[in-house]
């Protein structure tokens, strides 16, 4: 009697496990076909080499890695990618912080409208938003026309690093604002009032109270923006007109134009190393902040 109950129970728990597995199977299949296998395969691809006619050599080799690491061209691309990423992140933070602080202090429908206005650009295709920047910054665009109307000669605003900086900053602002808003969550406005009552001036309140308490949100936003800036491809490609080489644009050129997949795979692993370094820095900084 006791035995059959135990058997029953183990049968039903086995059936439950089967149901759990069955319900997870579809998502597991998609994940394996289009994520796990391709990514592992790409990592393996970086140890192959392309022959002169563009086909792949069967043998495993370090030669692609050697030619990548020995070429100063790729190091200069890596360097430009990292410092452009850092600059874009810094400018994005400077513009987003006051706006996010303002939005977090509103309430009711005003807050809802502002949050939606700040975040909804996120859902609009990067191609469309970047095209908007081409309309604004292009030689016949909105801003040069404005500069000309005020009697100056406009400098070139597009097809250079400045254009990429402006476009990327705007593309990434919604992510930064989102992270900052979640960070401001633990910031009670009553702390400001307390500090002001005790005689602190607004700038002191900002420096001593608001900034330190919102540091976790700042760090998270910076990590997110840096990682996205480093891996972005559409906006730099459209706004730089092929004149600014970054890791992501180089991966695309090697994969689609030159068809050197092993090199593109090496550069992909390179980008993941930059990601790893950014995550490590984030981890260390978060520890200091806490």
């Amino acid at each position: 009697m006791k035995d059959s109950a135990a058997v029953d129970q183990s049968n039903s728990s086995r059936r439950a496990a089967g149901v759990v597995f069955g319900l997870l199977l579809p998502i597991l299949i998609v994940n394996i076909i289009a994520f796990v296998v391709p990514v592992l395969n790409l990592a393996a691809m970086s140890f192959r080499s392309a022959t002169a006619i563009g086909s792949l050599d069967e043998a495993l080799t370090l030669s692609t890695w050697q030619s990548l690491l020995g070429d100063t061209f790729y190091w200069s691309i890596l360097w430009r990618t990292v410092w452009m990423g850092a600059l874009i992140t810094a400018v994005t933070l400077l513009l987003s912080y006051p706006l996010a602080l303002f939005v977090s202090r509103r309430s009711g429908w005003v807050k809802t409208v502002l949050v939606v206005a700040c975040i909804s650009p996120l859902l609009i295709s990067a191609v469309v938003r970047t095209y908007g920047w081409m309309v604004i910054l292009g030689n016949q665009g909105f801003l040069p026309a404005l500069i000309r109307a005020s009697g100056f000669t406009p400098p070139r605003l597009i097809n250079n690093e400045f254009g990429v900086l402006v476009g990327m900053t705007e593309i990434l602002m919604p992510y930064m604002i989102l992270s900052l808003l979640s960070g401001f969550g633990r910031l009670d406005p009553i702390l400001d009032q307390a500090a002001e009552t005790l005689g602190a001036r607004p700038l002191t309140v900002l420096r001593r109270i608001v900034l330190p308490l919102s540091l976790p949100g700042i760090l998270l936003g910076c990590l997110l923006c840096f990682v996205l800036a480093v891996s972005s491809f559409i906006t730099p490609k459209m706004l730089a007109g092929g004149r600014v080489s970054l890791l992501a644009t180089e991966i695309y050129d090697q994969a689609i134009v030159t068809l050197n997949w092993p090199l593109a795979a090496c550069l992909s692993v390179f980008i993941l190393f930059v990601f790893g370094a950014a995550l490590l820095a984030y981890g260390q900084l978060s520890k200091i902040v806490d």
Partner: protein, 264 residues
């Protein structure tokens, strides 16, 4: 006096930042009504000719309908695949549960340029490049994480004892799901659907890699068009896309709030 001056200066600064954020989205509207043959500000005249050109442009209209059909397929499949997975992952505790959640959401962490390349290299071998099957799988891998997260959050906010109560009263598991759980997570389902639709319809990088030259998709065609020409035609497409997205944004905001849906 000085205080109010500083305050209005502060408002001006904030308004300027907000304007910067929205400028590219706003400016495509006036440009789309330009009468010129190229993008120039200010336009020498106004007309609706580019909207007419748009309807006549076969590549873009084909790409639009392909993207629409693809996004609908992807959205339906996303809900069918993510809902059972979210139920299992939100309602059960078993060994490896959190590892599975990380595995299923990690495609979002990978740069889409790396993911696109990785999928391309595998799909070429199976002849999936430029096929509908390949496109659907390639989009599912990034819509599923969003939907899974929104649905798991939706499930975690409703008390499990409601389902237990229905079970105690004699309802079978499927009846509990259909009569109790499904209506309660309807907002999360609506938000997941809208989000999956937008993500699929907007996806550019992965599509650029695996759509090939046969299967035309709107973001890819727009990208190639902009590469070669700058006339206000793309402004007309952009203006229509912005209006469409605006409708979906309102749907998501009404369903669960936009902030919850898009947080990384």
């Amino acid at each position: 006096m000085l205080g109010s001056f500083l305050r209005s200066l502060q408002f001006l600064g904030l308004a300027a930042i907000l304007l910067f954020l929205l400028a590219p989205v706003i400016l495509v509207f006036p440009i789309s009504f330009s009468a010129d043959a190229y993008v120039a500000w200010p336009p020498s005249g106004w007309s609706t000719r580019w909207y007419g050109e748009l309807l006549k442009n076969e590549e873009l209209t084909e790409a639009f309908s392909n993207s629409l059909v693809l996004a609908i397929y992807v959205t339906i499949l996303t809900l069918l695949i993510a809902t059972p997975a979210a139920l299992v992952l939100a309602r059960n505790t078993f060994a490896g549960r959190s590892a599975l959640v990380s595995l299923f959401t990690s495609p979002l962490l990978l740069p889409s340029i790396v993911l696109g390349l990785a999928i391309l290299v595998i799909f070429v071998g199976y002849g999936l490049v430029g096929s509908w099957t390949g496109m659907i799988i390639g989009h599912l891998v990034i819509t599923l994480p969003y939907a899974l997260r929104v649905l798991m959050t939706g499930l975690s906010t409703l008390p499990p004892f409601v389902e237990d109560a229905a079970g105690t009263l004699g309802a079978g598991p499927f009846a509990v799901f259909r009569r109790i759980t499904l209506p309660l997570i309807a907002p999360a389902l609506v938000a997941s659907a809208a989000l999956s639709f937008i993500v699929s319809f907007d996806e550019t990088v992965i599509s650029l890699f695996i759509a090939g030259t046969r299967l035309k998709l709107l973001p890819v065609s727009l990208y190639h068009y902009v590469e070669s020409r700058t006339d206000p035609l793309i402004a007309a497409v952009s203006a229509l896309m912005v209006l469409g997205i605006l409708v979906l944004v309102i749907v998501i905001e009404r369903a669960i709030g936009l902030r919850k849906a898009v947080a990384k």
